[in-house]
């Protein structure tokens, strides 16, 4: 009966690590009845006094190698959800497939095998074995798998070193600080070499500085080892920092799944919007998400006169110069261009200043502050072939951080104002050589 089903899921298992479909978990006396009620439209609060619906109709796929964060307030059902993923809790209804194996309905022995080979777990309060040394803690999973003592200790020692605990292997957990204890928890999970890692508020019990350090280390490990990580947190900043995708949970339901930017810039409902209000946006938003189209732009071939004209029209003191294929060559300032026009030079490239601020599209806003302060020009956003994608004026940067929608608030001055008097510019541009060109440009602008 089950064979075809397993085939279906295993064909898709190439890219999907964990697949959850219509998952319900209700605690209480009559959980099945409660699910029927919920399925026919009852709300969570309409259930009997003895039933708690912890997870309601959750469906999602976690892709291989991604960090999937489940975020929500305390009591929203996150721990319950993650515990169904390795069968610590049995779903009341719905299915959970891990690497194509449906674990919602397998015998205990098979489930133990899945836990040994496919999924390991890191706990909120570390849950280390206090009567075992750091090394023996790390080797526990291998011991359960039946790996010989010498081999498992050697493998565990490697992992203990990787997580930065060299020299602590023979200590007991009670001799370690919180951060170090959770490193042991991480080592214990990594040592089994399962490809899926479940982390239930793994860093929530640590103080903020240690937490940030652990988050960064987790990202490094993830890049190195390519694990699939399902990470639970109630901390939005943590979710945004770690997550490739984030599922937001509320009262047992998943209300939105998306990338950190999706969640921030396009919240599915007021609840999510409110939740993301106090996020540290500077760490989440990227240059690409807030940039605006560049306007003070001249092609290199246009020459000094048209460059000056563009700057005058935009009331800008400088412009970006683009080469073939919109590659960014640099910046010219109105003073230099004006000098060229006066001396009848035609090669704009001689006055290009290449020392302007440019960043890739995935740079976090937090890294842009210094540049924005130092540079009088908007920051240029470029791709890996140095093509100009857009610009971030200082005002835009501040607006993005203040959660002011940049597209609805009028922003008047976005470029540094020219210091050359208008009259002088007009006089310059009125000279005979350029009259026709100026007329045509004026025509298109009008």
């Amino acid at each position: 009966m089950r064979a075809p089903k397993e085939n279906v899921s295993s064909t898709s298992s190439v890219s999907v690590s964990v697949s959850v479909r219509n998952l319900y978990k209700v605690f209480g006396r009559r959980p099945k009845d409660a699910v029927t009620q919920l399925q026919s439209g009852a709300s969570r609060s309409e259930l009997g006094p003895h039933e708690t619906a912890a997870v309601i109709d959750a469906s999602f796929d976690v892709k291989k190698g991604e960090i999937f964060v489940v975020m929500g307030l305390s009591g929203s059902g996150k721990s319950t959800l993650i515990r169904t993923l390795n069968g610590l809790l049995e779903p009341t209804s719905g299915s959970v497939a891990v690497n194509g194996i449906d674990i919602s309905n397998v015998p205990a022995a098979k489930l133990r095998e899945v836990r040994q080979k496919n999924v390991s777990m890191v706990f909120q309060h570390f849950a280390l074995f206090p009567h075992r040394t750091v090394l023996d803690n790390a080797a526990y999973g291998l011991e359960v798998q039946g790996v010989r003592r010498a081999e498992r200790l050697e493998r565990a020692r490697k992992i203990v070193n990787i997580v930065g605990l060299d020299g602590w292997a023979d200590k007991y957990p009670s001799e370690l600080s919180g951060g170090m204890q959770q490193r042991v928890g991480l080592a214990r999970a990594l040592a089994t070499e399962t490809d899926i890692l479940l982390m239930d508020e793994a860093f929530s019990a640590l103080d903020p500085l240690i937490r940030r350090e652990m988050q960064e280390q987790l990202l490094e490990l993830q890049a190195e080892l390519g694990k699939t990580i399902i990470f639970i947190t109630h901390d939005l900043n943590e979710a945004m920092f770690l997550g490739d995708r984030i599922a937001v949970m509320r009262n047992g339901r998943i209300v939105q799944i998306g990338t950190p930017e999706d969640i921030l810039t396009d919240p599915a409902n007021d609840y999510v919007a409110q939740f993301v209000q106090d996020v540290d946006r500077a760490r989440v938003l990227t240059a690409g998400a807030v940039m605006e189209p560049a306007r003070a732009v001249v092609p290199l071939s246009a020459g000094p006169r048209s460059a000056l004209r563009v700057m005058r029209d935009l009331q800008a003191g400088a412009a970006f110069v683009l080469g073939p294929g919109r590659t960014l060559l640099g910046v010219v300032s109105d003073r230099h261009v004006m000098r060229q026009v006066k001396s009848n030079e035609t090669d704009l490239s001689r006055v290009i200043n290449q020392e302007h601020a440019s960043v890739p599209a995935d740079a976090a806003l937090v890294d842009l502050f210094e540049l924005a302060v130092e540079s009088p020009l908007p920051i240029a956003v470029i791709d890996d072939k140095r093509r100009l994608l857009g610009v971030i004026p200082r005002v835009t940067l501040l607006a993005a951080l203040g959660n002011v929608p940049t597209n609805t608030t009028p922003i008047n001055i976005i470029e540094p104002v020219s210091i050359i008097p208008d009259a002088e510019l007009d006089a310059m541009l009125a000279s005979p050589e350029l009259t026709s060109a100026a007329a045509s440009t004026e025509g298109t602008l009008a």
Binding site: V114, F123, A127, P130, H131, R132, V144, E175
Partner: protein, 311 residues
Amino acid sequence: MITDFRLPLGDLVSDGIDVLTDSLRPLFDLIRLVLVSLYEAVEFVLLSPPFWAIIIIAAALAYFVKGWKFAAGTIVGLFVIVGVNQWENSMASLALVLVASAIAIAISVPLGIVAARSNRASATIRPILDFLQTMPAFVYLVPALILFRVGVVPGIVATIVFAMAPGVRFTELGIRGVDKEVVEAGHAFGSSPWRILRQIQLPLAMPTIMAGINQVIMLSLSMVVIAGLVGGGGLGSDVVQALSRIDVALGFEAGLSVVIIAIYLDRLTAALSGKRRTMWTPWRTKATITEAAPSPAPAAATADARVGASV
């Protein structure tokens, strides 16, 4: 009218015991044989070497688990017993205590494990324990006497029944008290329930279980005296003799011997339960550990009080 009516509970139990005696005679004879041989073997081990050899072994044990002060106290105490001429009685009683508590522990710890694993088992076992523990100890002697006849065996059986309860309770308490997340970690790495019990629950519950074992031994010791009433021998028979002859001197000497052995066994087992903790909490000093493990100390106090009361 009302005063005429009587619940025939006592008769019922009495009839039940009769039925048991008639139908299961061979079984009880077998149990009797096993218990007698066990007891005699232990007694032989304790009494065949010269008393000073036993004292040296006891003191060495005391030194190993706790330190030289305890060892010195042990030597003094045991020499007092020799001095009041109660050595043989004491060893006989000790043999009875060791056999009875070993069996009580062998039954109660697994029962405690079962109770910890299933709420239903726990709900079934608890009232039975309440019953066993609060029933006056003497009452067990009557059916035990009928089933196993006069001698050391009814004493052992009554002692087992009487002393079992804390073994079950503390084991259940200890296992249920193991951090839920730590047990969950065992499951999460694919351990079998048996492995989790062996490698996680039992080791972590051990201090509490040891406190229970301490109580089992203390209760056994207090029962020894009562066993003297049914021919249990040892210190109990001297106490009973002193009682019937109103011999204050004999009563005091026998009673004092009971107290000395009680204190020795109590400190020994209490130290054992503390010792397990030091292994994985090395940053604590020994002093804080004994403070942090409050259960054995008050337990010992009540057990001592019981022993005193029954003397």
